[in-house]
Symmetry: C2
Subunit: 241 residues, 2 copies
């Protein structure tokens, strides 16, 4: 059997054009902030996350009695219990609970990949190593979808893809796509000082109102997590390799 | 007045999502092979290039008496006079002539950019420096469109974007987009040995039947050209800064 392949999609808009079409595990990254917050939440002890895309859906879930994480433009919405940043989930009374998480890009990306992938994993710098272990055990093709920002290429999701590809290529995975190679080369530039590298990027403009310094550094702490959120029946549940 | 901005679009699929919407000069790159061949052709002395997308259009132009460059899968089509590689245009009897060039991706990208851009320039490694001079004199925003391969990110077009951004950023242009920064970082890795760097990329698989070693090296000879092909009234004409 040939070695499994890795492909990186820099935007949901490029996902349909990917080379790997059948039999793959999908990994979704929306580093600032959705997928990192989801990883941080399950690490802290939230039992399940229900990702929803729109505000309407989030409000409906709140009316049904769910705890809801929902903000727009950095502001907590009137009906919401929790914000969208990683540290917003660090509250003891959330441990063991199911939480609805409203995130447009992240949810869309997760559901898009779930249509065809055998499994969908939620990735962040917190669980790169765990995801690599999981994927190496499964030995299937891997498609990494960068949720991106307004459908445009972004550096933080790309660096996550590079970090994951770095481990997988060392474990015998192969790649045919230039996007994987570019991600890897960029990761090799950034990895010695990830927070410093990304400070120079456009995220600073995009996120200065959304992300505190604490959450910024937390989002970039490599392999600090314990779980991989796996998408199953519309919910994200924590698994380990 | 604020300094002009640079934006890089890694695929025609991402072009519509770009941040710079109004008042810009577009630069189109399809390094292997369309835009490099167009640059090489006008450098050699071809007076005008008429880019067409489909085979049908190319055949019609042949019937109207035009010289036609047209191949598919590395084979010259029965009605065509010239192939699609840069060195195919190095024939003395083509000097001073108008030539129809059939290229799907390249033509589509040029016409897409022409819809809104003030000017559309055809870029390749042959004329990076000339294009930078032209753009510095115009002092307008710049959108670089990588024609890409099957709508997917490719390294060679990205490196061209990085090479051009490198000169422009030194001339006072600014950028807000991560794709420009990524292109620049990749260019800084590749620039000391561009042919060696790209040999490791996916282009080798995609192009081994299409590009001779001579054309490969020619396509990567930085600043070896004399002209910038400018798109005007459906034709590409050679200009200088």
């Amino acid at each position: 059997m040939p070695p499994p392949k890795i492909e990186v999609c820099f935007s949901p808009k490029l996902y349909e054009h990917r080379l790997i079409k059948e039999t793959f595990i999908g990994v979704v990254a929306d580093i600032f902030r959705a997928t990192t917050s989801i990883c941080a939440a399950v690490d802290y002890g939230i039992s399940k996350i229900i990702p929803v895309a729109g505000l309407e859906e989030a409000r409906n879930m709140k009316e049904k009695g769910y705890l809801v994480a929902c903000e727009r433009d950095g502001k907590l919405l009137d009906f919401a219990d929790i914000g969208n940043s990683p540290s917003d989930f660090f509250k003891e009374d959330l441990i063991g609970k199911e939480v609805v998480f409203s995130t447009t890009n992240g949810t869309k990306a997760i559901k898009l990949v779930a249509e065809e992938a055998d499994d969908v994993l939620v990735g962040s710098f917190l669980n790169v190593g765990l995801i690599a272990q999981y994927l190496a055990l499964k030995n299937e093709n891997v498609v990494i979808l960068c949720a991106s920002w307004k459908n445009l290429f972004n550096l933080e999701d790309t660096l996550f893809a590079g970090a994951l590809a770095d481990v997988l290529l060392s474990s015998g995975f192969e790649t045919e796509c230039d996007s994987t190679k570019a991600s890897l080369d960029l990761w090799n530039i950034a990895k010695t000082d990830l927070p410093g590298y990304l400070r120079k990027s456009s995220h600073r403009n995009r996120l200065k109102h959304l992300l505190t310094e604490r959450d910024y550094l937390l989002s970039l702490s490599l392999d600090s997590g314990k779980f991989i959120p796996l998408f199953k029946e519309d919910k994200l549940i924590p698994v380990t390799p």
